[in-house]
Amino acid sequence: MKYALELNDLSVTYKGSNFLKKAIAHLTLKIVSGEVFGFLGPNGAGKTTTIKSIFNFLPVAAGQISIFGQDSSDYSVRSRMGYMPEIANYYWYLTPRELLRMYAGFFGFRKKTADKKIDNLLSLVGMEAEANVLMKNFSKGMMQKISLAQSLINDPDLLIFDEPTSGLDPLARSSVREIIKGLKAKGKTIFFSSHELSEVELVCDRIGIINKGVLVKTDKVEDIFKQKGDDMSLERYFIDIIIKGDLC
């Protein structure tokens, strides 16, 4: 089986001047190429920390992270990755076209190729009319759409989304869901963290639940419903695991 992302016995510790906090403890997770994996957990569980470790934003205390078989510290592997951060902040003094052109340049795209890609992406996220408007005038939802567009600029094989639908209205949320489904149909691997359990239920093949830095459960979405019956919602499943403990 080919894995797009492998976390082996990953531990991350936050060190302060007078504290030491284990944010992630012995996390082992394998994401198969082509699957959509929902990474769930309450606030402060370690979802964003895990994602930050994948991109080497944080030093890993122990364990290994490999992406398509390459060590995550090898920056060249990022040419196959796309990332949509939790907080969509971009340079306010740029227009979406300028921002995406700069990011496309990092992947070595020429202006003509980049512009074609940018037009397609902006149309995909419904922002083509704002292509040349300074981003200082954008709402949170609009920034989120630009964030999604920038994560797709290099046509990545592995996408990592941190709360991709936060700040979006129901229409935009549904369009993000469609985009994710479209990416899945193209065989892309998607790893995303979310609080929107209904979203996760609709798009994910498999979910993982993390609590207090420990991965407590991984399961296929269809298996959850098979085992627990039709009246089981993902939200109830999640609450059961986190608060009451697994029902099984």
């Binding site: 930050k52 991109f55 080497n56 934003f57 944080l58 030093p59 920056y75 060249s76 592997v77 990022r78 040419s79 990755m81 796309g82 990332y83 949509m84 951060p85 907080i87 902040n89 971009y90 340079y91 003094y93 740029l94 300028e98 700069m102 990011y103 340049g105 990092f106 992947f107 070595g108 300074l134 964030s147 920038q150 994560s151 290099n154």
Partner: protein, 252 residues
């Protein structure tokens, strides 16, 4: 190199869209035109006063633009969280540092270049003639000074907050510009500290060649200019190495 260039261009776009630089150009233009028209009591060589005040303003405005701009580059990238999508692309942290440094340097050079051009035109119009080599040397001194000042400010910004960085940068700059040469004498009660400070802090007075132009002294020999350039290059390289070492390990 393309990555570094793209980051640098992005920084330059910001400063020109913020429009601060245009305020300084307008202020300098007004002041220079006013000075050029001044004819107090028919003082002989009044252009020297104009050159002194004008050059002082050129350097001062350039420093006022350079320091806060360089100080916020790394800090805003991190606090604004724009660093995440940036470093999620196939770029290294060293590219970010190089891009930030070059971006802030070009902004400083462009603003200094514009101010200096304005000064030179008005100064030559008032004087009627001038030594081009002296003008060039003063300009080169300013360019080199801004490179060291930018590197020092970026270096401080990876260790301190924005306000501390700006305060420290201005303090070191003005202290060294005014008292750098006499530093060891100033520390006569603490000679070891004086020696350390003398060799550790950047000697901005080396790059300030304004008086040679104002008092019409002869231009500096080439080897002196090359030595100044060598000193600045070494200093910038050391400062950027510290930035890299610090930023490489930084948690984001």
């Amino acid at each position: 190199m393309l990555i570094v260039k793209l980051i640098a261009i992005n920084i330059m776009r910001e400063i020109f869209r913020k429009k601060d630089i245009y305020v300084f150009i307008t202020m300098l233009l007004i002041l220079m035109v006013y000075l050029a028209n001044a004819a107090f009591f028919e003082i002989k060589h009044i252009y020297r006063y104009m050159n002194e005040i004008g050059l002082g303003l050129v350097f001062l405005f350039s420093i006022i633009i350079a320091v806060p701009n360089a100080a916020r580059l790394m800090l805003e990238e991190i606090s604004g969280k724009t660093i995440y999508p940036l470093l999620a692309k196939p770029i290294k942290r060293v590219h970010v540092i190089a891009g930030k440094f070059l971006g802030s340097l070009f902004i400083s050079w462009i603003s200094f270049g514009l101010f200096f051009l304005l000064f030179t035109v008005i100064s030559l119009l008032k004087q009627g003639q001038g030594d081009w080599l002296l003008y060039t040397q003063v300009f080169m001194g300013g360019i080199i000074m801004l490179a060291v000042l930018n590197a020092m400010t970026i270096c401080l910004s990876v260790f301190c907050t924005f306000s501390t960085t700006v305060t420290l940068s201005y303090t070191i700059f003005f202290l060294m510009s005014w008292f750098g040469a006499n530093m060891r004498e100033a520390f006569y009660r603490l000679p070891i500290l004086g020696e350390i400070a003398y060799y550790l802090l950047p000697h901005f007075e080396f790059f300030d060649l304004r008086h040679r132009l104002i008092y019409e002294w002869s231009p500096l020999p080439l080897w002196v200019m090359l030595s100044i350039f060598g000193y600045a290059t070494l200093y910038v390289a050391c400062l950027l190495f510290f930035v890299f070492k610090r930023f490489q390990k930084r948690w984001l």
